[in-house]
Symmetry: C2
Subunit: 356 residues, 2 copies
C-alpha cells in the first residue's frame, strides 16, 4: 500500500459520518418518499415537503446524485429516484432501520470511544443520558434508544433464527435452557422452528424479564412447554438441562467473562450435554474485505453498548470452548450469498459437547 | 446500478462512523505511536500504554489489520505498523488534525442534521453547548471546539494561500479589501506572497476582530501597509477599494445571502473594480467520484457550522457573479495532482470585474 493510497483511505474514513447523515437526512426529511411518489419535483417543491429552504435540499441531494441514488435533470430542475427506485421496499426498510439505529445508538456515543475503552463502560450513555450502565439497561429507561434498538433486534432475530434452528441439533425430549433468553423469543422459536417432540425450553434471564416472558409464552400457547428461571449467568447457571442455547451473547463480553460463562455452563451440564452457540464471527483472514463485522462491532460494543466485548474468529471461539471443557462438534458460518448486501453481521454457529 | 450494489453501498455508509472512530481511537489511545516506537508489542503491552484491557486493543486493531495499516504476527502475538509506517509524519499529522476536527465539530452535531436543515441553524451546537448561533461564534466561547477547529483553519490557509496569490491579479498601488478577513492573515499573506509595490490592504470584519488583527499587523511589521475596518458585510461594504478578496466565505451561505454579499461588493466598487474569490467548488459532473466536497460540505455546513450554505459548481458561481453585475475574467480549479490524497476541499478561484 503506497502512502498515497493510505492517505486516500483516510479521506474515505473522514467522510463516513457526513455521508451517513446526508443520506439518512434525505429519508428523514421526506425527500426520498416525495420523489418516489412524484418524480420530477424541483428543489423548491421538495423544500416545501421537507420544511427546509430549497438550498438545503439541493445541497443534500448532491451526494445522492454522486452516488447514482437520485438523478437530476438540469433542464427542468427536477429530481427523480434512480438506483433507489430499484431497491425493494422491504430491503430499503431493513437498511434504514439499521441506519437509524446507528444514528441513535452509536453516532454521538462514538465520540467517547477512547474513554469507553479505558473505563470499560459506554461513557457516551452517561454523557448523553446520565445513564451509568450498558445499552441493554438503558433501552428500558429511554424511549428513543429503545425505539431505535428494539425493531432492529427483532429483525435480526427473525432473519437469523430459522438458519440457526435449521443447523443445530435439539434431540427429542431434551430439556433446553435458553441462556440470557430475554423475554422468551428464543424459547418460542425453538418450538416453532425445531419441533422436536417432547422438548421443554426454559428461558434463563434476569428476574425482571419473567413477567413479559411468561406473557409471551401464554400468547403463543406455549405455557405447558416453556418456563422461566430468574438468575444471573455470572452467579450460577441452573442444572438439569441437556442442551444450552447461547445466542447473541458471547460477543458482548471480553475473554474473561466469556470464560466465566462457558465454565458455568459447563459445570451445569452432565458429560455429553450440549451447547449451541450463535454469534457473529470475524473471518479467519482478517484482511478479507467483504466481512464488515470488523468495521462495526469493536467500536459498537466498546463505545455504544457494553464498554467491552466484540466478536472473535471461529478458531478463537473453538479454542476457548475446548479450554472450558467442551469438544466442538460442528462449526458453520452463514453463506454470504444468503445475506442481503446491506446487512453487517456475519453470523456463525458452534455446537459443542461437554467432554467426559 | 443493481439493487444489490445499492444495498452494498448503504452498508458502506453504515460503517462510516464506527470506522472513523476506531481509527482515531487507535491514535488517541497512543497505540499507533507505541507501535511506531516499539514494533512487536503485544495487546497486553499496548493495553498498558493505552490504559485499556488487552481485549479492547485487540478489538480496535482488527480494523487496522483489515486495512493493512497495521500487521499482526500470530506466532508472537505482536503488532507492528504496516502501511501507516510509510506515511510521512507531516502528512499523517494533517490527516489526524482533520479527523479530530470532524470528531469534535461534526460527529455528534450531525445527529441533528435534519432539524438543522429545517431551522437554518446548527441545532447540534444548541443541544450540546447551549449555543445559539454558528460555529464561528461558538469557537470563541468553547475551548474544545476552538482547539479542534483553529489549527485546521490555519493549515488550510497555509496550504491554499500560496496557490491563491499565485493565481490572482493584484495590481501595484491598488487598494485591497479583504472581505471577512478575520484577524488579518489574508492581509498579511497579500503582502508576503504577492509583493505588488504600493499595495495597501484593509481587513474588513466584525469590530470585535480589530484588536487581534491590529496586533497581528504589528507583529508582522505591516502596520503601515495594513489597516482594519469594523463592520458587517450584510449591512454595507466600505467603498474606495480597487480589489476585493473573498476567501472561504461565499460557501458559508445560501444563494440569497451570496447574492447580498456580491451585490454589496458590487455597489462598493467603481466600474472595472475587481473581486478575487477563493471557494471550494463542486465538479461540473456531480458523479465525478474523486471529488469529496460533495461527501462532506453539505452536511458539515448545514449540520455543524452555519445551518445553511455549502459550495456550488464553478458554473453556478459564474452565473451568480454575472447576475450581480460582474464579468468573470478567470476561473481556475486546483489540480487534484497538487492536493494530498487525504485532503477533502477542492478549491477554485474566480476573478471578476465590475461591468461598466
Amino acid at each position: 500500500m503506497t502512502p498515497e493510497a493510505t492517505l486516500a483511505r483516510l479521506r474515505e474514513y473522514m467522510v463516513g459520518p457526513t455521508r451517513l447523515m446526508t443520506l439518512l437526512s434525505c429519508f428523514e426529511l421526506g425527500i426520498i418518499d416525495a420523489l418516489r411518489e412524484r418524480p420530477g419535483m424541483t428543489s423548491a417543491e421538495l423544500g416545501e415537503v421537507a420544511g427546509t429552504k430549497p438550498d438545503a435540499v439541493e445541497q443534500l441531494l448532491h451526494l445522492m446524485i454522486k452516488e447514482g441514488f437520485v438523478a437530476y435533470d438540469g433542464e427542468s430542475g427536477g429530481y427523480a429516484l434512480d438506483a433507489l427506485a430499484k431497491v425493494a421496499e422491504r430491503d430499503l426498510r431493513r437498511a434504514l432501520s439499521y441506519m437509524n439505529m446507528i444514528k441513535v445508538v452509536a453516532l454521538r456515543q462514538l465520540f467517547h470511544l477512547p474513554e469507553s475503552a479505558r473505563n470499560g463502560m459506554p461513557v457516551g450513555l452517561e454523557e448523553l443520558y446520565g445513564h451509568e450502565g450498558t445499552l441493554y439497561d438503558a433501552v428500558a429507561e429511554h424511549g428513543d434508544l429503545r425505539e431505535a434498538w428494539a425493531p432492529l433486534m427483532d429483525t435480526v432475530t427473525a432473519n437469523i433464527d430459522p438458519w440457526y434452528f435449521a443447523n443445530v441439533d435439539i434431540p427429542s425430549d431434551s430439556r433446553v435452557l435458553d441462556l440470557a433468553g430475554n423475554t422468551g423469543i428464543g424459547a418460542i422459536h425453538t418450538h416453532r422452528m425445531k419441533a422436536s417432540p417432547g422438548v421443554r425450553v426454559t428461558t434463563f434471564d434476569l428476574p425482571e424479564k419473567e413477567k413479559e416472558c411468561l406473557e409471551n409464552f401464554r400468547k403463543h400457547d406455549l405455557e405447558e412447554h416453556c418456563s422461566f428461571i430468574g438468575g444471573d449467568v455470572f452467579d450460577e447457571v441452573p442444572e438439569g438441562f441437556d442442551v444450552v442455547l447461547i445466542k447473541h451473547f458471547l460477543d458482548m463480553f471480553d475473554k474473561e467473562d466469556v470464560f466465566k460463562i462457558l465454565e458455568r455452563v459447563n459445570s451445569s451440564l452432565e458429560p455429553g450435554g450440549r451447547v449451541n452457540i450463535l454469534v457473529p464471527v470475524y473471518p479467519e483472514d482478517m484482511t478479507e474485505s467483504d466481512n464488515y463485522n470488523v468495521d462495526f462491532f469493536p467500536a459498537f460494543f466498546i463505545g455504544c453498548t457494553m464498554g467491552q466485548g466484540g466478536p472473535q474468529q471461529m478458531s478463537t471461539y473453538r479454542k476457548w470452548l475446548e479450554e472450558c471443557g467442551f469438544e466442538v462438534t460442528k462449526t458453520i458460518t452463514k453463506d454470504p450469498a444468503d445475506i442481503p448486501p446491506d446487512v453487517i453481521p456475519r453470523q456463525g454457529i458452534l455446537c459443542a459437547r461437554k467432554t467426559e
